[in-house]
Assembly symmetry: C2
Homo-oligomer: 218 residues x 2
């Protein structure tokens, strides 16, 4: 029974996601859905990414959290327009659904944007199941989470178009094999681009920024 | 509509959870539900915990993952009986529900156990909503995830009876304020016991082991 209900919820979401995709496409905005576990460093990574892209690429942000405006406040400091979604008003949802993205996007002036980045709720499971009408999905994995996470949460890495391995500045203090982490990501998703970065030291951002610029201009 | 469906799923779960609790109580087994984000160090923390408790306290383990038997294999090395649940057989569920715990527990000889620890799926959101018939809930937060997580994922910290702040060995290399992390946990759940540990160096386990022994013998 639970699985049938899930299927219906996902089907309704898919319909709205297709509508969102059409709406974004008409306004020539590329939409990136950024997902990860809690505390992988999505917000800091985004903050650096936005600073490197603007003003040449005009970026807007939708931030999803169950509670707090912390991330919207941090990202607002970049000068990019930010809309915060708090799902505690909608049953405390563990993911962003397409109808919430529709509502948030209508609060923004999309005609003045080239790229809309959606920072999803910190959760390596459920957001992978919900299409929000994006053009690409990125997954961020902190090296502190261990090399085995792609094998244990394969759907997230299968649906992602690009993976960021963050916090590589901590590698000297961890018993983590970076190459094995990359191998495990590419075991569940062969040939997916993987960028090794540190949002703290800003190391490794060139490849990721290049990939993203390619998407927006492509 | 989605919220009504969620309510019905949760009500059905609650009924099974009450049945589980009665089943465990009749067998005099204390059940602990251990939850966290992916990669917080639950399995390593459990491995050390089991070694310190056994053989005086007889421990059994149920491990939940979407995929892989990695954690069951790691925990089986302690000598404790382990049952692995893989939710990819049940729609890839992002949490352990009470009916899965019922099924797994019936594979174990509960009469030979004092303590059953359930390692839930790595997810700081959904498992907090699903009562599995446990006697206590523990949340593990890695300090690498940042101090703000209790404010952003409050339900998990509200329902928990004890919190473990893990990976404190990494504090010298992080911009994280440990006291603020504790304050934020206790802001959403006043007076909850918080133990600062490192599963890597085994620092700080005395308080946590003492707390757990108190539960089992109490």
């Amino acid at each position: 029974m639970e699985i049938n209900i899930q299927r219906k919820v996902l089907e309704a979401n898919e319909t709205q996601a297709d509508r969102n995709r059409k709406y974004f496409s008409e306004r020539k905005v590329f939409v990136l859905n950024m997902m990860s576990s809690p505390g992988s460093g999505k917000t800091e990574t985004l903050s650096i990414t936005i600073k490197r892209l603007m003003p040449h690429i005009r970026v807007g942000i939708i931030v999803g959290d169950i509670c707090t405006r912390n991330d919207a406040d941090r990202l607002g400091a970049t000068g990019a327009p930010v809309v915060q979604i708090n799902t505690d008003q909608f049953g405390g949802d563990c993911h962003l659904a397409a109808h919430l993205i529709d509502r948030a996007a209508r609060e923004m002036d999309l005609d003045s944007l080239d790229l809309l980045i959606v920072e999803n709720i910190g959760n390596l499971v459920c957001p992978a199941e919900f299409d929000i009408g994006e053009n690409a999905k990125a997954v961020v994995l902190s090296v502190t989470e261990g090399e085995d996470k792609p094998l244990k949460y394969p759907l997230m890495f299968q649906v992602a178009d690009v993976a960021l391995l963050n916090k590589i500045d901590l590698l000297p203090y961890l018993d983590v094999d970076l190459n094995l982490a990359v191998d495990n990501i590419q075991k569940v998703h062969p040939k997916i681009p993987v960028f090794k970065i540190s949002a703290k030291t800003q190391e490794g951002f060139e490849g990721w920024i290049g990939w993203l610029k390619g998407c927006v201009n492509g």
